[in-house]
């Protein structure tokens, strides 16, 4: 109802009494302006929540949310996902010795292999993730420990990184590139996937390492100092992060354009996770043809170059394979949340409807004279 119908009040009638002010017009009247705003009667809609308006709202919310939830839930269930923990906590697990004998300084890398079986074929593109648990990438001191100017290719920041990077700002008298704790703790396990066919031969599965980072990260936020040519010269005078084996311009020996700050594995790592348990995209397995599945069901071998220690802080490492639908990856939570909220609304609607019918004995609109 529009409560804009304002009955002109007594005062509105007579404009400043003619007798009261002698000098007609000479003395400015102090009479306040008769405007809707100043008299606090702006036209307004005064909604009143009644059973008639609230109850349908409950039902409508319920009826919208429940189907959405069911849709999300079904879609999520149709997504194929495979997850395997290769941390090596258990003595029986293949990476146990690697996990135990780890040292940053070791020159030879430790490798281990994990066998697994896919029960069902994975159609369309398959995405390969690594997952870390109990890793506080969202810790305040960790999150700040980076220099975005340096990562953006700023030459002065390259040689003089931000103080936020301490204590990973300089090493051996030279500035670290990329500086800071995030870069220093770059995930450096190497995962290789093999399919074991019916003959028992290992067939290497091609893993695409490009296209895993945000497009703007790759092209805007992260840039090499002085362009992409001759990174060795560009990074001259800087040192590698203390935990790294190779300098930043040699991260990808296979692809010259995937080195320096624009290395996609590096970019993915630098986009810090919100929660202590997280996944990061590692590789993409592109679909080859429409007739064969990307990953057929069967036995697989995951070869791991075990470099990354997590046991010291009780962390876990996982490898995840997943397909993607229109709603993204497998995540039953959203569907359940929608169904729950929808059901609660619907249920409340029913309860309130019953209460309304049972106790609404009075005439709903009490006469309020205006």
């Amino acid at each position: 109802m529009m409560a804009s119908s304002y009955n002109a009040k007594e005062e509105d009638g007579h404009h400043s009494g003619p007798s009261s002010h002698g000098g007609a017009g000479a003395v400015k009247s102090k009479k306040p302006d008769n405007t809707a705003f100043k008299q606090q009667r702006l036209p307004a809609w005064q909604p009143i929540l009644t059973a008639g308006t609230v109850l349908p709202a409950f039902f409508v919310i319920g009826l919208i949310f429940i189907p959405i939830g069911i849709g999300l839930y079904v879609t999520s269930n149709n997504i194929k996902e495979f997850e395997i923990d290769y941390t090596g906590v258990d003595v029986s697990s293949p990476c146990f010795s690697c996990a135990k004998n780890y040292s940053w300084d070791s020159t030879t890398s430790c490798t281990c292999s994990v066998n697994f079986t896919l029960e069902q074929p994975f159609e369309s593109n398959v995405f390969m993730y690594y997952g870390l648990s109990n890793f506080y990438q969202n810790h305040r001191r960790y999150v700040k420990s980076r220099d975005d100017s340096q990562l953006n290719g700023d030459r002065s920041a390259l040689t003089n990184p931000s103080k936020e990077c301490e204590p990973y700002r300089t090493s051996e008298g030279q500035p670290i590139a990329p500086c800071g704790a995030i870069a220093n703790s770059l995930f450096n396990d190497t995962l290789v996937l093999y399919h074991v066919d019916s003959n028992g031969t290992k067939i290497s599965i091609p893993l695409a390492k490009k296209g895993i980072a945000w497009w703007t990260d790759k092209h805007v936020k992260f840039r090499n100092p002085g362009g992409n040519d001759n990174l060795t010269i560009a990074f001259q005078g800087t040192n590698k992060p203390v935990n790294w084996r190779k300098p930043v311009f040699e991260l990808d020996p296979d692809d010259r354009d995937n080195n320096g700050f624009i290395n996609e594995d590096f970019i993915v790592w630098m986009r810090t996770a919100a929660l202590p348990t997280f996944r990061k995209l590692y590789r993409i397995i592109h679909k080859k043809s429409s007739s064969t599945p990307t990953l057929a069901s069967g036995r697989y071998i995951l070869d791991i170059t075990y470099n990354y220690p997590v046991l010291s802080f009780d962390g876990r490492k996982r490898m995840i394979l997943s397909t993607i639908s229109w709603m993204g990856g497998k995540n039953p939570f959203l569907g359940i949340a929608y169904i729950t909220v929808g059901s609660i609304c619907f249920f409340l609607g029913v309860v309130l409807l019953i209460i309304h019918h049972k106790y609404d004995s009075r005439n709903s609109s009490a006469d309020i004279p205006n």
Binding site: K9, E10, E11, D12, S16, S20, H21, K31, P32, N34, K38, Q39, Q40, P43, A44, P47, N125, F127, Y129, Y136, N138, H139, R141, Y142, D147, S149, L151, N152, E166, P167, A181, N184, I212, W214, W215, D217, H219, V220, K221, R271, A273, A274, L275, P276, T277, F278, R279, L281, S312, F313, I324, W326, G328, G329, K330, N331, F333, L334, A337, N370
Partner: protein, 1019 residues
């Protein structure tokens, strides 16, 4: 035109204690002599010579200021109410602002944020709001001060006449010096220093929220066993102990959680209060057209208290009544005159049915009406000596001034009415000098020598004049309140009983009465008294008391002549207003100087007292003291409404004693209405402070005269009626308007709205900031208690400024649950305010829990959704940026939806604000996510959005500006980021430089900026 030279008497300036006649009117417009402007400093004697400027420039009046610089001890008359000048504004204003606890708090916070070890939020999250607040306040102060400068200039440049070189010369006020003799005209403004009142706005803070804040921090601290002394990736090179880290973390959380009580709360509260005050000023229905007086809120901090008033203390004269006095009746020598025909069946209808015809008297005031012709006949016959004396007294015993021929200037309306009455009955007051009074007595001009004037004050309640008649007799005329006069009557005085009964009758008719009497004095007796009088006048200590004593000696053995009865009409709408306020459970106390009967009858006529009330009188105090009673036991056990009528004397003797104060207050508060009669200004204030002290209720005083100033200042809220009397009441009040009846609108409409709006505002404000801030708290469980914030820094900075403040501010300014007519029609709607139902601990905790609930949902639903999710393009969007943007966006939607539900008065402005807030949020998000801003400030804007199209567009525009040689290899990839804002190519198409339509799928591998820009060039 009256001139009164200074120095004739040491007359006193306006004084709260002065209280002429049965009620309590003072007038300051004439009584001020202005040569003593400055109190002397120190114990040095006070030497002032009138009209001698050179004298005051003598070195002895200089005081040393600094080394050899000397300054006159008497400062000039330049008024300086302004606070700042060009140079002092910045430092002084900042100093003033930082005197406020809130600002200091935020400054301390800012300093904390600058400490690198502690800081959890960047410094600008506090600095920007603080600067805005300080800036806005400074601008406000500046505007105020400019107005003061203007006002000072105007006052200082006012013209006045100063006696210089033997004649009055026009001068400006600021050039007046100590000792100058000046001439004032009627209605001249007197800017005596020290009489200008400044108001300073102060804002209150709510301690609850701060307490809560600390509670939460404490809790956070106890939980904060940070992760990671063994997490190698968190190693920061410092060997700090765990407790030290916890300490740093504590301060970090203090900074993060400060957003619960942000600066914008203080600003918003001030804005809302200012708005409510403006609405009061603008209200047409509180504008009094006859005097062109709009209502005026003089302080802005009390509006919401207007909605919580429980006790109103009202003056009577000029507040409930019009303060326009009319001489209605009198009793002379036991015979009453002026009764209306209906009430006096004995008088002949011819004589009394119509008003007296004044044509026989050329000096008569034609507006004056009197209903009894017999009195005129009696006077014209000149037989009735006592009637002659009656009116002679009225024309002689007063302090009225003659302004011009037959135009009087009276200190109180009563005196004016009496002198005018005497004039109409043939005793015309013509002029007075310092020691003579000339009257025309039945066409015969006579001059009386005035030997002494025994002035009025509120304790004496009478005034006398000693006159030497032309025939040499010496006579004292006295008029005053009946109680004091009757005590001093001679045993020989006649007509005591008949006059007393007439007085009672007058009082029943709500008339104001005065007794008149005389005393013949022999010259020897006078001589003896006169010497004592002279002695008393020159007493240095306690002159007032000494004079009173001397007066007392001569004012005895008086002979009663009769009594006058003056009518003071009620103001328009008073009974209706009082009835309405009573329905709103507001208890109304009338404090008046009138006698009991008058007050009681006024009480009935303005529906303060009703027939169904049980009246109790203060003269018979309860036999036993309350001390023995149980506190729960009521004083008036009988059911039904009670009313109490007490006198000032009783207050002093019984109620005033410390032991019984609480009893008095308890008893009085059991009554629907209370009338205190014959109270002095000080007693009025005492009553108010008693109720304030024992009832802890919000009190309001309303009055119009200087005698109400104490009371107005004592009460929580003072209301001044800008009426007949001077401006003191208005100057010391918080709200001022012209008519008593506007009080109902002030309380029931403006007060109620202000209270409801402020409560709604506070409740919502706390809710929205709890919902906002506690997300950090939940997040801390998942970030190793590291005080990592859950949102982006810029969002935190701007949340309270742009994203959520405007809709709630508008609710605080404009919301109406019911309109003004309904508020007035149903006074019971006022009750929630009195009981403080809308904002109290309970409501606060409801807001708190509401906030906690919402913050839980805002945190944990995204938490569930992000825990193991992947985007449509396979990337894992569980990164901090995505999470922060999702929670922030949900928060903005939730908070703005919630205020939409809470708004009960939807104007287009509200609609605009709600939609605008959301739009601004997305607009700013959009800009913060643009690539350009990150490239320029890589360290401050790290939330670059994942939107390739937008980036390409930016680059195209860039390329079009630059030379087309710009080249960069681009790889196309479909953008799927949920919060990106892709902008189409509408701009390009519209500009006529359309490029080939880009396929939506990922085909455009080879498109490059160069290609695009070249095409654009070709067209």
């Amino acid at each position: 035109m009256t001139t009164r030279n200074a120095g004739t008497h040491g007359s006193v300036g306006p004084n709260d204690e002065v209280m002429p006649y049965s009620d309590d009117e003072t007038d300051d417009e004439l009584d001020v002599s202005t040569d003593e402007e400055e109190e002397p400093s120190g114990e040095v004697g006070w030497k002032v010579k009138a009209n001698d400027r050179a004298y005051h420039h003598l070195p002895e009046f200089d005081k040393k200021v600094f080394l050899c610089f000397k300054k006159s001890r008497y400062s000039g008359n330049v008024i300086k109410t302004y606070k700042y000048n060009v140079f002092t504004f910045l430092p002084l204003n900042l100093y003033e602002q930082f005197k406020r606890v809130a600002n200091i708090y935020f400054l301390a916070l800012l300093i904390l944020q600058c400490i690198p070890a502690i800081t959890t939020l960047p410094w600008y999250t506090t600095l920007i709001p603080l600067v805005v607040v300080l800036g806005v306040t400074a601008v406000k102060d500046l505007v105020d001060d400019l107005a003061r400068h203007r006002m000072d200039k105007e006052i200082n440049n006012r013209k006045c006449e100063v006696l210089l070189d033997g004649r009055f010369q026009e001068s400006k006020w600021r050039h007046i010096e100590v000792g100058d003799v000046i001439r004032l005209k009627k209605n001249d403004f007197i800017p005596v220093r020290g009489h200008v009142v400044d108001m300073l706005l102060l804002s209150s803070s709510n301690p609850n929220s701060l307490l809560l804040l600390y509670f939460f921090i404490k809790k956070a601290k106890t939980n904060a066993s940070e992760v990671g002394s063994n997490a190698w990736y968190l190693y920061d090179g410092r060997e700090d102990s765990t407790s030290y880290r916890g300490f740093l973390s504590f301060w970090g959380y203090l900074i993060v959680l400060n957003t619960m009580v942000p600066i914008s709360l203080y600003v918003s509260v001030e804005v809302i209060r200012l708005g409510q005050s403006k609405f009061i000023n603008w209200d047409l229905q509180m504008y009094y057209a006859e005097k062109d007086t709009p209502a005026k809120a003089r302080t802005t901090t009390l509006n919401e208290q207007l909605g919580q008033i429980e006790y109103i203390f009202s003056d009577k004269t000029g507040t409930l009544t019009q303060n326009i006095m009319q001489f209605k009746k009198c009793t002379i020598a036991g015979h009453s005159y002026g009764n209306r025909p209906s009430s006096d069946p004995h008088s002949s209808p011819l004589l009394s049915s119509k008003p007296v015809d004044w044509s026989w008297n050329r000096d008569a005031d034609k507006k004056f009406q009197f209903m009894d012709n017999s009195l005129v006949a009696c006077l014209r016959s000149k037989k009735d000596k006592e009637a002659m004396d009656f009116f002679r007294l009225l024309s002689l015993c007063h302090t009225v001034m003659v302004e011009s021929e037959l135009v009087y200037q009276a200190a109180s309306p009563d005196e004016g009415a009496l002198v005018t009455a005497a004039r109409n009955f043939g005793f015309v007051f013509l002029s007075r000098t310092q020691d003579t009074i000339t009257i025309r007595e039945m066409e015969q001009e006579k001059t009386y020598e005035m030997l002494a004037l025994l002035d009025f004050n509120s304790d004496r309640k009478r005034m006398s004049i000693i006159l030497k008649f032309p025939d040499g007799r010496i006579r004292l005329y006295c008029k005053g309140a009946d109680t004091v006069i009757y005590q001093r009557l001679s045993p020989n005085s006649k007509h005591r009983e008949s006059t007393q009964s007439a007085l009672d009758k007058f009082a029943n008719e709500t008339l104001r009465t005065l007794c008149l009497c005389y005393k013949d004095i022999s010259s020897s007796e006078y001589e003896a008294w006169s010497r004592k009088h002279m002695d008393a006048q020159v007493t240095m200590v306690n002159r007032e008391a000494a004079l009173d004593q001397v007066y007392e000696m001569i004012e005895k053995n008086l002979m009663l002549i009769g009594a006058t009865a003056i009518e003071d009409k009620l103001q328009e709408g008073v009974p209706e207003t009082i009835a309405k306020l009573a329905k709103a459970d507001i208890k109304i106390w009338v404090l008046t100087g009138d006698k009991k009967e008058t007050a009681e009858n006024i009480g009935f006529s303005c529906s303060l007292l009703t027939e169904d009330m049980h009246l109790h009188y203060g003269e018979d105090p309860p036999t036993e003291s309350r001390g023995k009673k149980k506190p729960a036991e009521p004083f008036f056990p009988e059911p039904g409404k009670n009313a109490l009528i007490i006198t000032g004397g009783w207050l002093v003797s019984w109620g005033g004693q410390g032991f019984f104060q609480i009893d008095f207050v308890d008893m009085a508060c059991e009554c629907e209405s209370v009338i205190c009669c014959r109270v002095t200004p000080k007693q009025k204030a005492n009553v108010v402070s008693l109720v304030k002290k024992y009832k802890k209720a919000v009190t309001l005083s309303i009055g119009d005269g200087a005698n109400d100033v104490n009371m107005i200042k004592t009460a929580d809220i003072g209301v001044g009626i800008s009426g007949q009397e001077g401006m003191q009441a208005v100057m010391s009040s918080d709200f001022a308007f012209a008519q008593f009846r506007y009080l109902q609108r002030l309380l029931l409409v403006h007060g109620r709205w202000s209270y409801i709006r402020m409560c709604k505002f506070l409740r919502f404000f706390f809710f929205k900031n709890f919902a906002f801030t506690l997300v950090h708290f939940w997040y801390s469980f998942f970030s190793g208690y590291s005080a990592q914030v859950a949102y982006e820094d810029w969002f935190i900075t701007l949340y309270n400024l742009f994203y959520s403040s405007l809709p709630v501010l508008l609710v605080g300014l404009l919301d109406q649950d019911v309109n003004d007519r309904l508020s007035l029609k149903f006074p019971k709607l006022y009750l929630p305010g009195q009981q403080g139902l809308l904002f109290n601990y309970k409501n606060f905790f409801i807001s708190l829990f509401h906030g906690i609930f919402v913050s839980l949902i805002i945190f944990f639903i995204p938490y569930g959704a992000f825990l193991q999710t992947m985007g449509q393009d396979g990337e894992a969007p569980s990164d901090y940026q995505s999470f922060a943007v999702v929670t922030a966006s949900s928060l903005i939607f939730t908070v703005n939806l919630q205020i939409s539900l809470d708004t009960s008065y939807w104007t287009f402005v509200n609609c605009f604000a709600v939609l605008g807030s959301i739009a601004i949020y997305f607009g700013i998000m959009f800009d913060l996510h643009s690539a350009g801003i990150h490239v320029i400030f890589p360290r401050h804007f790290t939330f670059t959005g994942q939107n390739r199209k937008r980036y390409e567009l930016e680059m195209q525009q860039e390329a079009r500006k630059r030379a087309p040689a710009f080249q960069r290899g681009l790889r196309s990839r479909r953008s799927g980021y949920a919060f990106s804002h892709s902008r189409g190519f509408a701009e390009l198409i519209a500009s006529g430089r359309s490029i080939r339509r880009r396929p939506l799928s990922r085909i455009g591998h080879h498109s490059s900026i160069r290609e695009v820009s070249e095409r654009a060039e070709n067209i």
